[in-house]
Subunit: 206 residues, 2 copies
DNA sequence: ACGATCAACGTACGATGTACGTACGGTGTC
DNA sequence: GACACCGTACGTACATCGTACGTTGATCGT
């Protein structure tokens, strides 16, 4: 029996295996050993399928309930969980980030975020803003990670060299930091920005 | 005479006028009163055209040189300039954000960002990290803005009502903050997060 | 004047999303 | 048991897409 769940699952698996360009209704149907048009009994169109895929991946978010802990570690864990599911499906990441679906990704994480902000002592409107800001950072980070990956392995090999050989008159700091700019440690970068954010929130008046 | 510039320009104009879905090589050619295949004398393929469009839009970044000012206002201005070009081409925003091209968007803004971080007293590696973090936030914000816009005018009208009527047992804070969650003031939200970030950086040890 | 170069073009092909009509198996009603 | 109904799977068909390939015509250096 064909179901929306199976279709979405096959689509995610297919993208993880063959990349996003390989995603087509025909390919998904093939994956399930089914005719193309059968899919349309369960999914209205391709856009809906994409949305379903984003939801599916984000549904794996695990949100441990640990309300007794410090809000800072809870906030960190929430954002990390978001990043984790994205990294577990690396080739779907763009999908997730650009389709983070209504109210960014289901209500549970939103509720959780607001709860944490509340426990941290912030009022409602501020909580909403804080959540939006942090989500922006998380989404942006994921986006940047994948872009940087694409860039780094599209550049010939000696990217740092190319940067270093730029005109030092026009780009003094870029040439100086050529090495740092072409190195990429997504984990550390992500945590660096996350810390920055959490500390900033911590310093906010209530 | 057909040129890459004219093609890219027509493509951007077309997307701004008719939306991203209307972008096709045929449509661009039509816009220029030219046969489809003529485009390929100047642009190797559609992906390259997209990249060109992102570059084009970002080329409008104005980066006033005001090195005597406080680094905080310079940093803010740089990020705002980024957001401004994106907002000037709202329907291209997704393009820009997801194609922010090698070394995120040309070298000048990168150089400028590193320069500001340097003037703020940070060492090289930290400067790179700071820049990455702030770019992540900016990109994420833009992404979230457009998503939220799409969401808000896809929801029936009374979105706040729908939120408020959720089960208050499971989603106490969401129901409580229904109104705030469905209101959207991108400008204020953006500035809120930007301030947060700048202040966090300011508080960092050197 | 003439050959070379190159921008513009037309044709053509394979792939894609999906509208539409059909076949068929299971379920409820008499 | 007969029959009407409905939902699921399917096949065909079409418009549209990106682009490979071969041709034409104008321009320019000699």
């Amino acid at each position: 029996m064909l179901t929306r769940e199976r279709i979405v699952g096959a689509a995610v698996a297919l993208v993880e295996r063959d990349g996003a360009d390989a995603l087509s209704m025909r390919a998904v149907a093939g994956e399930l050993g089914v005719a193309v048009m059968s899919l349309y009994n369960h999914v209205p169109n391709k856009a809906a399928l994409l949305k379903g895929m984003a939801e599916r991946v984000l549904a794996d978010l695990d949100l441990p309930e640990n309300r007794h802990l410090d809000w800072r570690v809870r906030a960190r864990e929430l954002i990390r969980a978001f990043r984790r599911v994205a990294r577990e499906n690396p080739r779907c990441t763009d999908l997730i980030v650009t389709h983070s679906v209504e109210v960014p990704f289901g209500l549970k994480p939103v509720e959780r975020g607001l709860e944490i902000a509340h426990d941290a002592g912030f009022d409602g409107p501020t909580s909403v803003r804080l959540m939006r800001a942090i989500i922006s950072y998380a989404q942006g980070s994921l986006l940047r990670e994948t872009e940087q990956m694409r860039m780094l392995d599209s550049l010939p090999a000696d990217a740092a060299g190319a940067f270093a050989e730029l005109d030092p008159e026009r780009f003094p700091r870029v040439t100086l930091l050529a090495k740092e700019l072409t190195e990429h440690d997504p984990e550390t970068d992500f945590e660096f920005g996350l810390d920055l954010f959490i500390n900033a929130i911590d310093a906010l008046p209530r």
